[in-house]
């Protein structure tokens, strides 16, 4: 695979390193001379000095035969424009943009970028997963459809403990997809009794998330 990476900052650098070790052909476009030199010294001649939003530079970099262009700078506007030019002028089959403002995810998709990776979102999710006291973890975000898959732990004395799903009366736009009871997963029905220390995987509309949390964990 031939991958062109726009931006040789920390993200671009580690990404190119990983791709080089996996045996892919990689070219990093970096404007800053020193940065380009450092990467070349470490990874071999994989860096070209230049602007990833400049058509002549992209042409010299052979973007027309690239399988993927990954725009990894810290500026959302550069990442967007680089991906759009790669797509419109060089017919690159896949473009991936790093985004710093999570709000830009939907905008980038609408503007033809194939995939986005939000650094801010990734860090937030990872930190949430690591927080031991957090009983509610976002498993995955289904933003486009306004829903969320969440995992809840039923603490001792939580409102849901000792009651059937029917009694808990969740909002219509939320369902309990799975109950994990003593390490065993059960697909529940209305008469399933939720017990303390159970873990629940819930699919819920974003607007009902808080209510679901109150009804099950009480927080």
């Amino acid at each position: 695979m031939y991958a062109v990476i726009v931006g040789g900052g920390k993200v671009g650098y580690y990404l190119s390193k990983a791709l080089v070790y996996e045996g892919h052909e990689v070219l990093v476009l970096e404007q800053e001379g020193n940065r380009a030199k450092v990467i070349n010294e470490e990874l071999g001649s994989v860096t070209m000095r230049g602007d990833g939003c400049d058509i002549l530079t992209l042409e010299k970099a052979g973007v027309a035969r690239a399988d993927v262009v990954i725009a990894a700078t810290g500026d959302d506007e550069i990442n967007l424009v680089a991906c759009q030019i790669a797509k419109a002028r060089f017919k690159v089959p896949r473009t991936i943009a790093r985004i710093n403002n999570p709000k830009n995810e939907a905008i980038f998709k609408k503007l033809g970028v194939d995939a986005t990776v939000s650094t801010t979102d990734a860090i937030l999710t990872r930190m949430q997963e690591e927080l031991p006291s957090e009983s509610l973890v976002h498993l995955s975000s289904l933003r486009g459809v306004g829903a969320e898959v969440i995992e809840l732990t039923v603490g001792p004395g939580a409102p849901a403990a000792g009651r059937t799903l029917k009694e808990i009366q969740l909002p219509d736009d939320a369902i309990v997809a799975m109950v994990i009871h003593q390490g065993e997963g059960i697909v529940p029905g209305g008469s399933t009794v939720i017990e303390a220390d159970d873990e629940l995987v819930v699919v819920t509309a974003l607007r009902s998330e808080e209510r679901v949390r109150k009804l099950i964990s009480g927080s």
Partner: protein, 134 residues
Amino acid sequence: MKIVILGLSRFGMQFAALALASGHQVALIDRNPAAFNKLPDSFGATPVLGSGIDEDVMRKAGVDRADLFVAATDSDNTNLMAAQVAKVVFNIKRSIARVHDQNNADTFNALGMIETICPTYSAARALEQTLPKG
């Protein structure tokens, strides 16, 4: 008509002055507070402080109700992104990006979503047209 201009560059200010003189309503966005000090007190545009590629700032400047958005900062990429955001988020009728690089101006013109203006090319072309036929 209602016009929102992003960026108090010379181009942005010049265009704002011309539009105001023809009786249009103008809002100006810039992220640098000092930029607004350059404006004379009598300048009739509404100032809005903030980043022009942030949809909240754009809404505050009234892009959702405007007829025309002109992105005129000193950065081509900022202008291209802002003009497209005005289009896809606010569905504005006309959105224009000032772009120095003629190749990029052509590329984004061809995509058909926004219009681009390349002052470098326009000036070079205007000069070339004053020459006798070679």
